[in-house]
């Protein structure tokens, strides 16, 4: 990167943060690190947010912990604001100015005991009591439907306390963290390879994205460069995962609309993708492919076979989606349901197809390009309405873009050297970010030697859960399934 844009950025950031924080040099490319007192963290984060920054996450760092870290995406860079605690156990809450920090601060409070002063809603988040959902609405003859944690159908465990006055949804509560498995702690002491295997099992349907983010964080911390051939195959797996996830959303939406044939068709297409991945690497979810330094094994199929399978898939999908978008009983249920405003998404720090459906151009592959994305051309998917139909349209566009990307990657393979992996060893700390199917996923790894010392995960589902609650304005109970599936967030990912 040339020096001139860096200086321009430096001026913009320092003009915003001014005397609030001091920059720490030595951050890898794409990251900026600032150190300050935890007491000034709220002000600095608010200043960045006012200047157009997108709040990403908040967590504790170090033993006890010793610092509260806020991460903000600002103009193509990931800015880390590290607030030193110096033995204090409380800090001013960021949630008053930045609603996106509401959930992370509660989680931090539950895991470490750090008190965010001025937090409007400091209730226990981890290990919730299923029998005591919080009431958000008071009124004559409103009642509660505790939907969850064991819901109808083969779905993940999550509780949605729905308050209703009969048919309309007055308040849609979202209670994650029933599945908290403490996996962030488990990373400590593992080898880098084992860390990648663990990352794959944080959120199963986004296994490749998690493994990639974890591997990137390790590679950036150690200063290793992944061979281009491995980057291409990583992209192929990641985009196949994206296609499978979006087809899954479509199948669920079609099933909700009682379109049996549509749901069966999309389910069959998703099965084709999963079988392709199994033939490609031996695992239907692409597990065991991405390791720090590259990919583990040579793929089991040649690029021509993969391309042929994708062509058949695309032809089938084209006919099915045309039919789907022409079925009024499907489209009518989605149009106008769960409408979100762009301003709400920005306030809560939303990411992924949910944000892109409100005409916000947030995509980690374009903001902070990684892997092979800078070399391959693709367009960001966008829609304007902000309702469930817009989210479905964004996903359809993304499937097209994913197919396009995979084809470009496969075509470029024969021009690349055969190296698949480089060794990764060293010490340091760095961030790794990827665009998972449901939004931007950020990993922060501190490695010592070849073991992980500390890992922090900022999942996209955690950033989007409040948006699910906000999207219910004037909808009725029968719309709940459609809106929930149009978000298609992973509780396992947010709960970790």
């Amino acid at each position: 990167m040339s020096a001139r844009p860096e200086r321009a950025q430096h001026d913009a950031l320092t003009s915003v943060l001014g005397g609030l924080a001091a920059e720490e040099p030595g951050a890898p490319e794409g990251e900026r690190r600032f150190v300050l007192e935890a007491q000034g963290l709220a002000r600095a984060a608010a200043a960045l947010g006012a200047a157009g920054g997108h709040f990403a996450g908040l967590f504790g760092c170090g033993p006890e912990p010793s610092a509260v870290v806020a991460v903000v995406a600002f103009r193509g860079e990931l800015v880390e604001l590290r607030g030193r605690l110096d033995g204090e156990r409380a800090y001013p809450s960021l949630a008053a100015a930045t609603p996106a920090a509401l959930l992370p601060e509660r989680e931090l409070h539950d895991t470490t005991g750090l008190v965010p002063l001025g937090h409007p809603e400091l209730e226990p988040l981890l290990r919730p009591d299923a029998d005591r959902p919080q009431r958000r609405v008071a009124g004559p003859q409103t009642f509660l439907i505790p939907y969850g944690p064991i819901r109808s159908g083969v779905v993940e465990a999550m509780q949605f306390p729905i308050e209703t006055g009969g048919e309309d949804v007055l308040a849609f509560g979202v209670r994650p963290f029933f599945k908290h498995r403490g996996l962030e702690r488990r990373f400590a002491g593992m080898s880098l390879d084992h860390g990648a295997y663990l990352a794959e099992r944080v959120a199963g349907p986004e296994a490749v994205a998690h493994a990639r983010a974890c591997a990137r964080a390790a590679e950036r911390a150690a200063g290793a460069t992944v061979p281009p051939r491995a980057e291409r195959w990583r992209l192929v797996h990641a985009e196949l995962e994206r296609i499978a996830a979006h087809l899954d959303t479509g199948a669920k939406l079609a099933e909700d609309a009682a379109l049996s044939v549509g749901a069966a068709r999309l389910g069959a297409l998703k099965e084709e993708v999963m079988r392709l991945r199994a033939r490609l690497c031996g695992n239907r979810f692409g597990r065991g492919v991405v390791v720090p330094g590259g990919i583990r094994n040579e793929p089991l199929l040649v690029p021509a076979e993969v391309a042929a399978a994708l062509d058949a898939l695309e032809a089938d999908l084209r006919r099915d989606r045309r039919l789907l978008l022409g079925t009024a009983s499907f489209v009518d249920r989605l149009v106008g349901s769960g409408t979100l405003a762009a301003e709400t998404v920005t306030r809560f720090g939303g990411v992924g197809p949910v944000a892109r459906a409100c005409s916000l151009g947030i995509d980690a592959r374009l903001e902070r390009p990684y892997g092979s994305y800078p070399r391959l051309g693709f367009r960001i998917a966008r829609a304007t309405a902000g309702d469930a139909m817009a989210r479905w349209e964004v996903r359809l566009q993304e499937i097209d873009q994913s197919l396009h990307l995979i084809r470009q990657a496969l075509e470029s393979l024969d021009r690349l050297p055969p190296e698949l992996r480089v060794p990764v060893a060293g010490s340091g700390e760095a961030y790794g970010w990827v665009e998972a199917p449901s939004g931007e996923l950020v990993y922060r790894l501190r490695i010592e030697g070849s073991t992980v010392a500390e890992a922090r995960i900022v999942p996209p589902a955690l950033r989007n859960w409040p948006l699910l609650s906000e999207s219910f304005r004037g909808d009725v109970l029968t719309d709940v399934a459609f809106v929930e599936h149009s978000f298609n967030l992973s509780p396992a990912g947010s709960d970790r």
Binding site: A130, I150, K179, G182, H194, G267, L323, S490
Partner: protein, 255 residues
């Protein structure tokens, strides 16, 4: 609607003939890990596995498939001892049978559902409960309803009400907030009932067993009839496990 009908008919029959016909896994599929050479193992082998599935007892290498997450670290580091087998049928009726190479006698298992009540031989209602999985097992169980597997042709149906269920399908090593809801679901099911633990997390707690947040497998909370290991197990493997619980098939996973 007519267009949908035509569209559905054009593709013909996609459904597998399992269990009537064998369903082969694709080449290179990581179905289960086999110990190709069990004798002469050293304690260093135990460190190969991130979940602690490999144990060496008096020189003999034991692999606990309930803990194995099929990551492939052992196959990569010690290919002379461990190898992947492309197989779908991995379910067993007891926890001890999951430990490969153990020469002890397995505990007697409860008779299959079909043996306990004759009318359940061909029609089983399944209630799935997520007790802390990573979401992949749910995808694979949902896949059972797609045209490739179509579990309804075998008389298996999903139900939302535990009062109508015969089989409880549990995924995930049980996290503490979900322990009581899982137990309530089990209590509400009428007799006879069977519990099938799907996934390595459900068999042993998986990676999370060491963090203390999970109970360490479904059998710490409920009596389990069938264990289906894998991370996640393929849909055919889950189908095999269900049919084992129903008594329609009797072949458990080979060692």
């Amino acid at each position: 609607m007519l267009e949908w009908l035509v569209r559905g008919l054009r593709h013909g029959v996609l459904t597998t003939g399992y269990p009537r016909e064998t369903e082969p896994a694709p080449a290179g599929f990581r179905g289960r890990v086999a110990v190709t050479r069990a004798e002469g193992g050293s304690a260093a082998l135990e460190r190969l596995c991130p979940t602690g599935a490999i144990r060496v007892r008096s020189g003999r290498v034991l692999l606990d498939r309930g803990r194995c997450v099929l990551c492939g670290a052992c196959v990569e580091q010690a290919p002379e001892r461990f190898a992947f087998v492309a197989d779908y049928e991995t379910a067993t009726r007891s926890r001890a049978a999951l430990v490969v190479g153990d020469v002890g006698t397995p505990a007697p298992a409860r008779p299959a559902l079909g043996d306990r009540r004759w009318t359940l031989r061909r029609s089983i209602f399944i209630r799935h409960v997520d007790a802390g999985s990573d979401g992949a097992e749910e995808w694979e169980i949902q896949a059972l309803a797609n045209p490739y597997y179509d579990l309804q042709r075998l008389g298996l149906f999903f139900t939302a009400s535990p009062r109508h269920a015969d089989v409880l399908l549990v995924t995930g090593g049980v996290t503490s907030p979900l322990r009581e809801p899982l137990r309530r679901t089990y209590e509400l099911m009428p007799e006879p009932k069977a519990v099938v633990a799907v996934g390595s997390d459900a068999c042993s707690g998986g990676f999370a067993a060491a963090t203390g947040e999970v109970a360490g497998g479904v059998d710490q909370v409920l009596p389990v009839d069938v264990y289906v290991p894998g991370s996640p197990p393929a849909p055919v493997a889950i189908l095999h496990g269900l049919l084992l619980a129903a008594g329609v098939v009797t072949g458990e996973a080979p060692a």
